[in-house]
């Protein structure tokens, strides 16, 4: 049998078992400690909200994965690219463009930005150690941060592209009062799914995808088979810019376009550690686990610790993961011949 199918089967089976085990665990805890509250309906509701929140994290994590996959660089500037993209998009809308038109223009701006980064930052640093390139991305972070706010201002802006934010109630027959699902999060999840599927296919099955993976492994070898380094970098940063734009739109219309958008990058970090820095599906699965994990922990364990564990739970989960599986769930196995 196909080993991939076996692995997929194991995953599909273990997920509901794990969820059920979590549910029973929380239920047991609630029976012991009176400060906790548990019903299955409530549990599912929190779980779904957490998973949807997780997709939002994945959207940000994706941008990191793209650049890491193709150049081995942790792009510190990804967060500020999200902010910059969102600011630009809102800026053009405020200038009177329809949001679709503004989206197209912003995609153009992000591609230009990628070309500029390749020309000004990456090209002079070919063959430098990764740490140098990483530090260069810190520079890009501060530049974009200041540049975006200089052009578009630093007020909190509203981005509305007409996605309904009404809550939905489903499965009212099964659970009392039904399950509340935020329809905006549902749309975001769909967008995320489409994006991930597209990118995964792009990386796995196209010539450019193969070239991207090759460049990440060895610059010189890539040059020798005729892969144009500059073009590849421009493509990767453009795609990462467009992913940043999508993340910026989603987060921006959910929480407003403001400086703190640049900081959601921090939430992407545990997602990456969990999913693996080099895996696109890993970014999604990592996001789902982090999102669901922190919501469930907050609601069903939080009262035991005096609340507000959501802020650090993700990092702790990532830390535990680092101990047992440093390459993440789907990351490339670290090969070392001695």
């Amino acid at each position: 049998m196909n080993p991939l199918a076996v692995r997929a089967g194991v995953w599909l089976l273990s997920v509901p078992i794990l969820i059920a085990a979590l549910g029973f665990g929380f239920k047991g805890l609630a029976a012991v400690d009176s400060s906790l509250f548990f019903t299955w309906g409530y549990f599912l509701e929190v779980l779904i909200a957490g998973l949807l929140q997780g997709v939002m994290y994945s959207l940000v994590a994706l941008g990191f994965v793209l650049i890491f996959k193709a150049s081995g660089i942790f792009n510190f500037a990804q967060g500020s690219m999200v902010l910059f993209a969102a600011l630009t998009m809102v800026g053009f809308i405020e200038l009177g463009l329809h949001w679709t038109l503004s989206f197209v223009v912003t995609v153009g701006v992000m591609v230009l930005l990628a070309l500029a980064i390749e020309r000004v930052v990456l090209r002079p640093l070919v063959n430098q150690p990764h740490i140098i390139l990483f530090m260069a991305t810190i520079g890009i972070f501060y530049f974009l941060d200041g540049f975006g706010q200089t052009i578009w201002g630093s007020d909190i802006k509203v981005l509305d592209i007409g996605i309904s934010k009404d809550p939905m109630f489903v499965a009212q027959g099964v659970f009392e009062g039904g399950l509340l699902i935020n329809s905006f999060d549902l749309v975001a999840a769909l967008v995320g799914a489409v994006l991930v599927a597209g990118l995964a296919i792009f990386f796995q099955y196209t010539r450019v995808g193969r070239a991207l993976r090759a460049v990440a492994d060895d610059h010189q070898a890539a040059l020798s088979v005729g892969i144009p380094l500059k073009t590849i970098w421009a493509i990767v940063w453009s795609v990462a810019g467009i992913v940043a734009l999508v993340a910026g739109i989603m987060w921006g219309s959910k929480a407003g376009v403001q400086f703190s958008l640049a900081l959601i990058a921090l939430k992407a970090l545990p997602v990456l550690i969990l999913g693996g820095f080099t895996s696109i599906p890993g970014a999604i699965v990592g996001g789902l686990i982090i999102g669901a994990g922190e919501q469930l922990a907050e609601v069903f364990l939080g009262p035991l610790f005096g609340g507000a564990i959501q802020d650090w739970f993700a990092y702790m989960l990532a830390l535990v993961f680092l101990l047992f599986r440093p390459q993440g769930l789907f990351g490339e196995v670290i090969i070392e011949r001695i």
């Binding site: 196209t206 010539r207 193969r210 993976r213 090759a214 492994d217 070898a221 020798s224 088979v225 090969i335």
Partner: protein
Amino acid sequence: MDAETRTEAAVDARRPGPARAIGEVLLEVKDVTLRFGGVRALSGVSFDIRRGEIRAIIGPNGAGKSSMLNVINGFYQPQEGQITFKGEVLQKMRPHFAAKNGIARTFQNIALFKGMSTLDNVMTGRMLKMHSTWFEQMLYMGRAKREEIEHRRFCEEIIDFLEIQAHRHTPVGKLPYGLQKRVELARALAAEPEILLLDEPMAGMNVEEKEDMCRFILDVNDEFGTTIALIEHDMGVVMDISDRVVVLDYGRKLADGTPDAVRANQDVIDAYLGVSH
């Protein structure tokens, strides 16, 4: 049969072969000087490579052999001199131009895409021969599908040829050294090169692996008619398989000619064995 006679048998079986016609000059470097700051890696080196031949570049450590190869495929751009490739005179080569026009190479310290499988590594060698757009490739339809199948078939043939079928799906980082060298050769061959540059293809190999590599190099030259320029330290191998040898020392050309002529050259003997003043 012991190792030596086997290599010789392989060599004897092949030459002189009627199919192996050595043709016109395919690539010529003329008065190439390459400096790194104050260090002269190459000073006024000229030689040519003819179509269909196996051309060896030898010399003591630091003689400028790898630099020469890097000039030919465009990794280094010389300050002086010119390169004539297929009749076209160039001031300097560019890696992309070289790859596009049929110059493929391997490296002294293996440069493979370690995280990718053997097959994927070999497929990167076909990169420049694929013409479908990324959009077609994503949908895997039309030209993209035809192309992928066609190129995959070609790569499989090369994988068969170099006898690495069993490692097709193994990430190359996991393969032993000798096999990695072979995968690198496979990737270079996938590009159907006119000139194949091999930088120490047998470095660090045991006798058996060296024999295999020798056989592959000769077969490639015979069956595909590929012109080969190689750097090698094992004199026995060089003298056995190459048609002409150019000797470098301290960035200068010391001698150029058939293996026998080079072997008899006093300057070469001095450079290799040292000379008393």
